[in-house]
């Protein structure tokens, strides 16, 4: 147990260092969302009195973009590691498969946190909408949403055959789900089949939970969203355990 924890810490730390060594990855997943947020925040909140979308939705959009970036990066890295035989090499050691996968989730969580921290800093300067009514509750919601979506990354990484397809397939799926998540227009306005998809999508429930947490309404009113996100997590982990391929 103790050794597993030490291994997890070491592997996570090594993976963070490796990630930071690749400039494109850092720019893409950390800097771009922050810069976009800063630009949009400044541009959209500068002259408006009470802009409806901008004031509270922009932070939620920013959070989701960061999390989606992390999921895509997780999917791609797992695909690359599998293709390069790295996962197989690690599996041929006493390292538990669970530790290997957990390390990657941890790396993404750390990365998401750093990006969000930068967002907060940027928000202070460039974003003039209202701050979150309950910051800790919002942070909790961010973690739940992240874990739930990262588990989707494992399923994606199991399904896509090669690293080359991981990024495009993941992007199409996640950005499509984002577009119907209720962030840009109400889910109720969607045509029949799309509405069903939206209601099953963890992103829709993520938007609900984040929105309510941001507004300070707490989680109590959003137990459907919370349950849906946790169910998604459990299902994805179960599916990934069955179909995840190491080579």
């Amino acid at each position: 147990m103790l050794r597993s924890a030490a291994q997890l810490a070491k592997l996570t730390w090594v993976e963070i260092k490796i990630f930071v060594r690749e400039p494109m990855g850092v720019i893409g997943t950390v800097l771009v969302p922050v810069i976009l947020f800063a630009l949009l925040g400044r541009w959209m909140t500068r002259d408006l009195e009470a802009p409806s979308f901008v004031s509270s939705e922009l932070p939620i959009l920013a959070v989701l973009l960061v999390v989606i970036g992390a999921v895509l990066s997780l999917t791609t890295i797992l695909a690359i590691y599998r293709e390069g035989g790295i996962l197989k090499r690690l599996k041929a050691t006493p390292l538990s498969p669970l530790v290997i996968l957990s390390a990657h989730v941890l790396v993404k969580l750390v990365l998401t946190s750093v990006t969000l921290l930068l967002l907060v800093v940027a928000g202070r300067r460039f974003y003039t909408g209202p701050p979150p009514a309950a910051p800790w509750s919002f942070l909790g919601a961010v973690i739940v949403v992240s874990l739930s979506l990262l588990s989707l990354g494992f399923v994606l990484a199991s399904v896509v055959r090669t690293a080359r397809f991981a990024q495009p397939v993941g992007s199409i799926l996640l950005y499509s789900l984002l577009s119907i998540s209720g962030l840009f227009f109400p889910v109720a306005a969607l045509p029949g089949a799309w509405k069903t998809v939206a209601l099953l999508s963890p992103l829709t429930h993520g938007v609900d939970l984040l929105r309510s947490a941001w507004a300070g309404a707490g989680w109590a009113g959003e137990w459907v969203a919370l349950l849906a996100l946790l169910a998604n997590l459990v299902i994805c982990v179960a599916v990934a355990r069955r179909v995840f391929r190491w080579e």
Binding site: E15, I18, I86
Partner: protein, 304 residues
């Protein structure tokens, strides 16, 4: 001493393709055992089943008293594995990889000493992707040795390396044996098998077709020796037709080639040459190698 690895009737198929079929062998303690065969013969599949990386369809494998499929901690601590064509994270540094591997085992060797031994001290800070082929292989050997294992698995360790890098790795493998480790390796290089292996198993199309020491196999399947010599003196093939054991005589100008059987064949030829007081300007004997054994057994060279 009991064998460190016992494999009995191992079978593994990928769909309709039977990659390993009814393979049985043992690896003795302290020896270098080699699985020799052409591409696609089933070497990697066999080895990965023994390592516990792959699940066999049938057969019994015991390694250091364990079934590798259990992946028990006690076993994983006592073996070292190098996989064919493995990769590491592109941007991981040499020392980081060794350091990471060290956390996987309760008891490990000194990292600096290990890197020095493998000639990687200067490459400590180098990223995996910036290493040469030979350096990568040496790093993989380092990782396989981190836990000071009793049994080391090496799958096509020198494939793709230049002769110099290859020789250097051979030294390392012989060093492992000197320190009492048992080594199980695969190769499709005859020279490698001959230089390194105490015993060789020849595998083709998933079946073991022979097993033994290289001299044993040569004696068993290619017992004939050939003597080549040149002489300017008047000599006819008939002079040699009575040499005991001789089976073929080729005569071309000053050159003679005599092929024959038996432990005394070469001495017999020498005696006959002396008897006739021939002035020999060139004399050499040709002993068959594993290459010839392979050709004899399979009807083709290992490269085609």
């Amino acid at each position: 001493m009991p064998p460190v690895v016992t494999v009995a009737n191992l079978r593994k198929a990928y769909g309709p393709l039977v990659a390993v079929d009814d393979v049985s062998f043992e690896v003795e303690e302290g020896e270098i055992f080699g699985l020799l065969g052409p591409n696609g013969a089933g070497k990697t599949t066999t080895m990965e089943c023994v390592e516990g990386v792959r699940k066999p369809d049938a057969g019994v494998i015991r390694i250091l008293g364990h079934d590798p499929a259990d992946r028990s901690d006690d076993l994983l601590r006592r073996i070292g594995v190098q996989l064919q064509e493995a990769q590491l994270q592109k941007r991981i540094r040499v020392w980081e990889a060794v350091d990471l591997w060290k956390t996987l085992f309760p008891e490990t060797v000194d990292a600096d000493g290990l890197l020095a031994e493998l000639g990687l001290t200067e490459k400590r800070e180098t990223k995996f992707m910036d290493l040469s082929g030979g350096q990568k292989q040496r790093l993989f050997i380092a990782l396989a040795l981190v836990n000071d294992p009793q049994v080391v698995f090496l799958d096509e360790l020198t494939t793709g390396l230049d002769p110099q890098a290859r020789r250097r790795i051979w030294e390392l493998v012989l060093g492992m044996k000197e320190r009492g480790k048992s080594v199980f390796l695969t190769t499709h290089l005859m020279e490698e098998a001959e230089r390194l292996c105490d015993r060789v198993a020849i595998i083709e199309h998933g079946r073991l077709i022979e097993i033994g020491t290289a001299p044993e196999l040569v004696r068993r399947h290619c017992p004939e020796r050939t003597v080549h010599f040149s002489t300017a003196d008047a000599a006819t093939p008939e002079l040699f037709s009575g040499v005991p054991g001789v089976s073929a005589i080729v005569h071309d100008g000053e050159r003679f080639s005599l092929t024959g059987l038996g432990p005394d064949f070469i001495s017999n030829v020498i005696e006959r040459v002396a008897e006739h007081r021939l002035r020999v300007t060139d004399f050499r004997t040709e002993t068959p190698t594993l290459e010839d054994v392979f050709l004899q057994l399979t009807g083709h060279s290992i490269r085609d």
